[in-house]
């Protein structure tokens, strides 16, 4: 891991200690451990919330309130036979899930997941190490994260095309459609807040909204917020836009032939992406972790709200057809996003 240097150090608070490579390493391990645990736990939360919304109980029998269902599922995924279908392109079939999982976590390396802190002095070896809020504070943070999440769609695309299965092919084609649709909206919708803040760094976004609820960017950019949320749902394959693996139509789409841990990697990647989108929405539009002292709590609450919203929407809304998604993104959302950017520019100039 390279040594991280702050390129936006003048906007960053000056008296903070220097970021060492040990601090970045600790942060990276922290993110990997916590996010994969949360991604696993997210499947449990999703099953529970969907069940409650249908007035069911959800998983109940493994452990108290079904909490150990996670462990049971994990054991099952790890011990299942790793099947590669006969006519599949073996190499691509085997690395495709890794693309999804890896890009999801690489994207998280440039996202501030928790506020920064210093390890207390009394702890041996690592005592006094400053752990930054971001594993690597790139000056192009948002661009990097969105690019990495976009690259993550190569996972479903290659998986669907390599598995010699017609449902997989349809899933891959739908991946391409989805990719062509939402990416423009994501970029254009988040462009307006970027213009207001004047930086692509998440830390700058966070610091720009440090003045309490009134200074949140959602009040200045409500349209961009809604557009980004819609595009984020498409980016994470959540329900109104879950074309890639809609069971009722294409069996399981790109994941039809996958089983065991390879399928599990798709799953972890999807949930890590959900968390990433939630964190981006919370930091860019809802003030991030800027509340002094309570930042760690408010960011968790905000991310939790967006995560819950994704499950909530899945329980409530039907999904759209691929052509409807394209129509929505290109003919409705993109013009609105462009108009939003233009109006933002005019207001800033005047």
């Amino acid at each position: 891991m390279e040594i991280v240097t702050y390129t936006t150090v003048e906007t960053f608070v000056n008296h903070l200690p220097e970021v060492t490579w040990v601090g970045s390493l600790i942060k990276a391990v922290l993110i990997l451990a916590v996010i994969s645990a949360i991604a696993g736990f997210g499947t449990f939360i999703e099953r529970k919330v969907l069940a409650f919304m249908q007035r069911r109980l959800g998983p109940m029998h493994v452990g108290p309130y079904g909490l150990l269902q996670l462990a049971a599922d994990g054991i099952k995924l790890f011990t299942k036979e790793d099947i590669v279908p006969q006519n599949a392109n073996k190499l691509i079939f085997m690395i495709a899930p890794a693309i999804t999982a890896a890009t999801a976590f690489i994207a998280l390396s440039a996202v501030p997941v928790f506020p920064d802190f210093t390890i207390p002095k009394f702890i041996p070896v690592l005592g006094g190490t400053f752990v930054p809020s971001i594993a690597s504070d790139l000056n192009i943070g948002i661009l990097f994260v969105l690019g990495m999440m976009a690259a993550g769609l190569y996972g479903p695309l290659l998986a669907g095309m390599s598995q010699a299965n017609k449902w997989g092919i349809i899933g891959a084609a739908r991946t391409a459609i989805q990719f062509l649709s939402y990416e423009v909206v994501t970029g254009l919708s988040i462009l307006a807040p970027i213009m207001l803040v004047g930086s692509l760094s998440f830390v700058d976004f966070n610091n720009a909204q440090a003045g309490g609820i009134g200074s949140w960017l959602i009040w200045q950019q409500p349209v961009a917020f809604v557009l980004f949320l819609i595009a984020g749902f498409a980016e994470t394959n959540r329900t109104p836009f879950d074309l890639l693996e809609h069971e009722a139509e294409v069996v399981s789409g790109y994941a039809t032939e996958y089983s065991g841990m390879r399928w599990g990697m798709f799953f972890i990647g999807e949930y890590a992406n959900m968390i990433t989108i939630s964190v981006i929405a919370a930091i860019v539009f809802l003030g991030g972790y800027s509340e002094g002292g309570l930042g760690w709590l408010t960011i968790i609450l905000k991310v939790g709200f967006f995560f819950f919203l994704m499950l909530w929407v899945r329980a409530a809304w039907p999904h759209v057809r691929p052509d409807q998604l394209m129509w929505l993104c290109w003919k409705v959302l993109m013009p609105i996003a462009v108009i939003n950017v233009v109006i933002t520019g005019i207001v800033m100039m005047v």
Partner: protein, 207 residues
């Protein structure tokens, strides 16, 4: 309706009632108006509210639908027809069956087999009584025809068993003598109605 109308397969010549779905927009402006209307109606949020309301109902107001079946069971109707029970007389504890053989006669799937003999008091005694549950269709005729309310349908609906012969002997179905105080009267077919007293009339002897 005559047969002619049934045989007419030409779609469109029949009398169909058309639903009023409004007009499909044709011009670009009309389509745009429809999109705007649908966008700013709050239908999507109504959908969100419905699911959230159901979640609140389930979690806070005790309207969860799930019954954790092997641990919880729903009450069943007294008229439910499951595995038969043989009842006893409450006073003497003797079984109620008088060996009349009506249940064997009426059984439409021929699954009841019984043998009777006279005991030392010259009373009918049931020497053998089995129900073949591989054949029984649980129609309830035996309980309905029984003049003594001796054979009735019980509430045992979990009838998975390792052997076909399970439940089927007279002793298996008979109320255990030490649980006589727990014996419930049957409310299903053939039982005395709750308002039986009101229905009692003088026997019309003068025809």
């Amino acid at each position: 309706m005559g047969l002619e109308q049934f045989k007419n397969r030409n779609v469109g010549t029949q009398n169909y009632k058309m639903l009023d779905l409004g007009e499909t927009p044709t011009s670009g402006m009309d389509k745009f108006k429809q999109v705007v209307q649908r966008t700013f109606k709050v239908e999507l949020f109504i959908g969100l509210w419905v699911t959230l309301r159901e979640m609140i109902n389930a979690l806070l107001r005790g309207q969860m639908h799930t019954v954790k079946y092997p641990f919880e069971k729903l009450p069943i109707s007294p008229r439910y027809r499951a595995i038969h029970d043989m009842l006893r007389l409450l006073e003497s504890g003797h079984y109620r069956c008088i060996g009349c053989g009506l249940c064997e006669k009426i059984c439409i799937s021929n699954c009841i087999t019984m043998n009777t003999r006279y005991d030392e008091n010259q009373r009918k005694e049931v020497s053998e009584y089995t129900i073949n549950f591989g054949r029984c269709i649980f129609c309830g005729y035996c309980a309905e025809v029984c003049p003594e309310l001796a054979i009735v349908h019980g509430p045992r609906y979990e009838t998975a068993s390792e052997q076909r012969a399970s439940f089927s002997l007279f002793e298996d179905m008979l109320t255990p003598i030490d649980q006589l105080n727990l014996q419930k009267e049957y409310d299903g077919f053939g039982a005395v109605t709750p308002n039986a007293d009101d229905n009692i009339k003088q026997t019309p002897l003068a025809y």
